[in-house]
Each structure stands twice: as C-alpha cells, then as structure tokens.
C-alpha cells in the first residue's frame, strides 16, 4: 500500500514539476514555500535557469538544499514571508504546502504581495475516489494525492478545486492559468471529480496595488 502510494506520489510529483517548469519564465527569480529538499527548485534551476530561493522548516532538508547550491531560509512559512520587498520574486511557488500551513489565506495573500505571480498546487479533496470512500465506505479518504492516514497527515486544511476557485473569486485573485492533474496526465473536463491535484497561476492586481501604495 505504502509503496504504491509513494510511487504514485513520485509520478505525480514529476508531472506537477514538469507543468510548473512550463509555467515559469526562464531566468526568473523564484521562491518555493516549503521547498523540502529542494528537488523542484533544483529542477527549475537546471531546466529554466531560475534564481531559486526556498523557505523550509525541516533542518535535515536545509542541508540537502544547501548541498544543491540553493539559498534557503530555515523558518516557518507562516512567519517567513513578510520581510521580502513587494513584488520581489517573479514567481512564488506554493506547491503541496498551502494546505499544510496554519493560515493558508494569510500566507497566500502575503505570497501575492512578494511575488508577481503565485503558483499554487494542492490535492483535490473531492476526487471521485475520495467521495466514494467518504460516503460509501465511511472512512477518511486515502488517495493518490492524499496518501496519509488521519493520524500522520501533514495536511491541516482540506479543499476541493471548486473551493479554491470560489476562494479566488471572493478574494479578487485572478487565475491566469490552470492545470488539472490525474495520475499521469492532465485533464480538462470535470476536474473537481477527476483531478487528483489542481495547479493554478495567480495574480492579484488589487493587492499588488495596495501593497505598492502602503
């Protein structure tokens, strides 16, 4: 079970990393929030020639990042974002970590202040498999993108693709680009039912303007 999940996660990761790479302008300045061991950043450095920075809470992961030649700050996403200048990064990546921070809305708004664009990736809690497990089998869903048991999950917040789109609308955040991921491919139809992960490129003209004048 675990092996299969890990393999799925890796396939997914490679796919989402590839898609993220395709969304990032070559040579841009990128901050990865919760960069872990720097696999994505390192990939983006090699593939897109980015100037990469990371924020990461795990000490052991910091050593791995530094060994890859990355600049990384050992701190919490919830508190580590506020000191960068406005629009300092071309892209801020919030991939698979947004649902793990205490205050995701707060962090996302800060990310939109310091980044010209924000790339958000998260597991879809309302995938058909999750829905069936919840309603028919009566247990908390375990899927390819949500592989954790209830007692050891790093996820603090659970959301669907639809939830996120509504959230962006309410917050006046512009969705510039999006991709819906299955295990090995992307899809266009019924994403809230069939996609394991959602990837969004966001901008927020309103907040950028506010930050610039404040």
């Amino acid at each position: 079970m675990n092996t299969r999940n890990n393999r799925n996660e890796k396939t997914l990761q490679r796919l989402d990393h590839k898609i993220i790479a395709s969304l990032i302008t070559p040579g841009s300045k990128v901050l990865d929030l919760g960069c872990n061991e720097g696999v994505l950043l390192d990939y983006l450095v090699k593939e897109r020639g980015i100037d990469g920075y990371g924020i990461e809470i795990s000490e052991s992961a910091i050593y791995k990042c530094v060994a890859k030649g990355l600049s990384v700050s050992h701190e919490d996403i919830d508190s580590g974002l506020k000191h960068y200048p406005d629009q300092f990064f071309d892209f801020v990546i919030f991939n698979q970590t947004m649902q793990q921070v205490h205050r995701p809305r707060h962090a996302l708004i800060r990310a939109l202040r310091i980044g010209k664009k924000v790339v958000v990736g998260f597991p879809n809690f309302c995938h058909i498999r999750a829905r069936l497990q919840l309603t028919l089998l009566g247990h908390v869903p375990i899927t390819a993108s949500l592989p954790y048991t209830w007692y050891d999950t790093p996820n603090l917040h659970f959301l669907s693709i639809r939830d996120f789109i509504h959230f962006c609308r309410d917050e006046e955040i512009t969705i510039e680009n999006r991709a819906y991921l299955t295990k090995k491919n992307t899809l266009k139809v019924f994403p809230n039912l069939l996609a394991y992960n959602g990837l969004f490129v966001l901008t927020c003209p309103r907040r950028t303007g506010q930050a610039a004048t404040s």
Binding site: E59, Y63, V66, A67, S71, S73, H74, Y84, P85
Partner: protein
Amino acid sequence: MAEASVGIVEKQFFEYRGSFVLESEAKLEGFVLAYETYGRLNDERDNAILICHALSGDSHAAGWYGGDKKPGWWEDMIGPGKAFDTDKYFIICSNVIGGCKGSTGPGSFDPKAGSPFRLAFPVVTIGDMVHAQALLIDHLGIACILCAAGGSTGGMQALQWCVSYPDRIRSCIPIATTHRHSPLQIAFDEVGRQCIMADPKWEGGNYPEGGGPDAGLAVARMIGHITYMSDKSMERKFGRQLKKKEYGYVFTQEFEVEGYLRYRGDSFIQRFDANSYLYITKAMDYFDLQRDRSLAQAFSHVKNMNFLIIAFSSDWLYPPYQSKEIVKALKMNGLDVTYCEISSDYGHDAFLIEFEEETILIKHFLKKVLRKNVIAKI
C-alpha cells in the same frame, strides 16, 4: 588526521606605521596585527577568506605550532578538503587590536610613555578591529575578499565587514552572533569586567608584567563558560556528580562542575591578559550595527552579497532570534541569504563543536559563492 591538516604553521605580523584613527577619534601611531594564513592566494587574488575569532581566540585557527600538542581553535573546519578548504581558498585568520595575542593592545609598549599602555590604551570597537584587518588585507595585495566568517565576536566582525567595506567582500558567514549586543550580553560582560576590577591586584590596570588580577580574571572566565554552555549540556557533562563519594561539608571543590569551571578559569589566566579582556568585551558591548536607524537601513548599501547565517537552538547567550533579525533585514534589502538553525544541546559553544553540520552548510555555500564570483567576472 595529519594529511587533513594544514600542518605546521607560523604566526605572522603585519606592522602598520601610519596614524590609525579610531571610532572614538583617539589615535594610535601605528599598530601590529598578528595573523596566520593557510592555503595559497591564486593569481587572480580572489580566493581569500578572512576568519575572525571570538573573544578569547587568536590568529591560530588551524595547524600546529612546532612542538605543540594542540592544533588551532578551528582545526576541524580549516584544512585540505574541510569546510574552509585550503586546497581552494587562501585562508587568513587575523587577531584583533586590543588583544593580547601578538597584536597591539593595552599590554603593548607605548613608545611615547616609555611603558606599557595599560588603561591609556584607547577604547577600541569592532569597527576599529575590522578597519585594522582591512589594512592587513591591503598589505596582502587583496582588493576583495571572497568571504568573512566567524562565530560570536568573530561573527560581529564579519557583519561589520559587510557594512564598512561592502565593495571589498563577496559573502559573509556570521555564526552564533548578533548585530548588536543585548542588555543580557552587556550584563554578563560587565559582571566579568567587575570581577577583574574588584580584584585588588588589578591596581587600576597598572599591574606589573607577570602579575595581575588572576582571581578576578578566572572568575570572569568561569562566568563566561557558564554562558557558553546550556542547561542540558551541563546536565550531561557534569550532572550532580561529586569528585569524592560523599559530601564533605566544606567549601572546597566538590561537584564536578565546580572543578571544571575552576580549571577553565585557571588555564585562562595563563593565556590571557586581564586588561585585554576589559577592552575586547567593551568593544563587543559597543557593537551595534543599527544605532539610530533600522537594521535594514544599515545594510541598504550592501549589494550582490551572499550570506549564510547560522544559529544554534540551545544558544541562550546569542539566541537564534538575533540571527533571525539579521535574516529579516537582509531579506528586506533583497539580499541572497541562507539561514539554518542547527539543533544542538551545546549552547553557544556549539559553533566550535557542531562542525559536521557547519561543514555541509559552509562548504556548499562557498562553492556557490565561488561559482557566482567566476560568472560575475566573465
């Protein structure tokens, strides 16, 4: 071990003959700075790294003096293949003015007075120490150093380098340090100074050569050592262990920790000058990169530099929050900064002990700085 060391080294002396104006506006008519170098300066003269030492350190950071049993104080970090790789970099470790390890300080001879300076020696600052080091770097024919690195007071010097000479330094590694001494740090320094000055043998600083306030200096060092350890490291190292099996109901050294502190105090008086202790701790207390501006403003003229900031979780003398303040100010200036809080039980002393973690961070950080430096020159 032998092949991973720089081997036998020798202390060198740089003599500056010009007039040296201090931050206090007092003047020194020339000075001597003790230093050591390891590795080779390349033809481009751009691979120099300055190592700055802590309060009681000296220029002997690595290798052995002929006949000595103990190597330099950062032997684990400096040498072939080590964090500060002497196969790649030209390492300079400079002593500080005000010190007593071969550089001009209160114990030096004042030619005007015809006797040692003692308290007539002007009060120096971290800025003055760094200014003197910059003259040494000039003397070595180096326009720009690749990095300044150091722990504790050494970290303060490294930070001061960035603010004082931003065009002459490419990167900085401040370890277990602060951008300004806190009231807690000043308080401990003041208690140390009072120990010395309350010792009648201090004689207003005019103690004879070979004599001096040994008891006071030893107690100052004992207090220092307590602040360098942590509750946990002391528990592990000493516990409540007694030297004998039973309580003696006397005021001799009974607990292991007492013996350790006395030993540290007694060995310190063999190698350190009491007046120098006053001057260097005072320089630390004056250290404040910020003064009447924000710390971010203090770094505002620093451009294109890389920083590696290291703190230790159990360091209560220079707690990680102080390093985070530096990280914050650097970020606000858009500077490239890597920060790591190494989890360690060794307290402030960790910067001299946790060399495996420090090595990973420093080795790869320097590799990146070197690569960026090469790209910048093309």
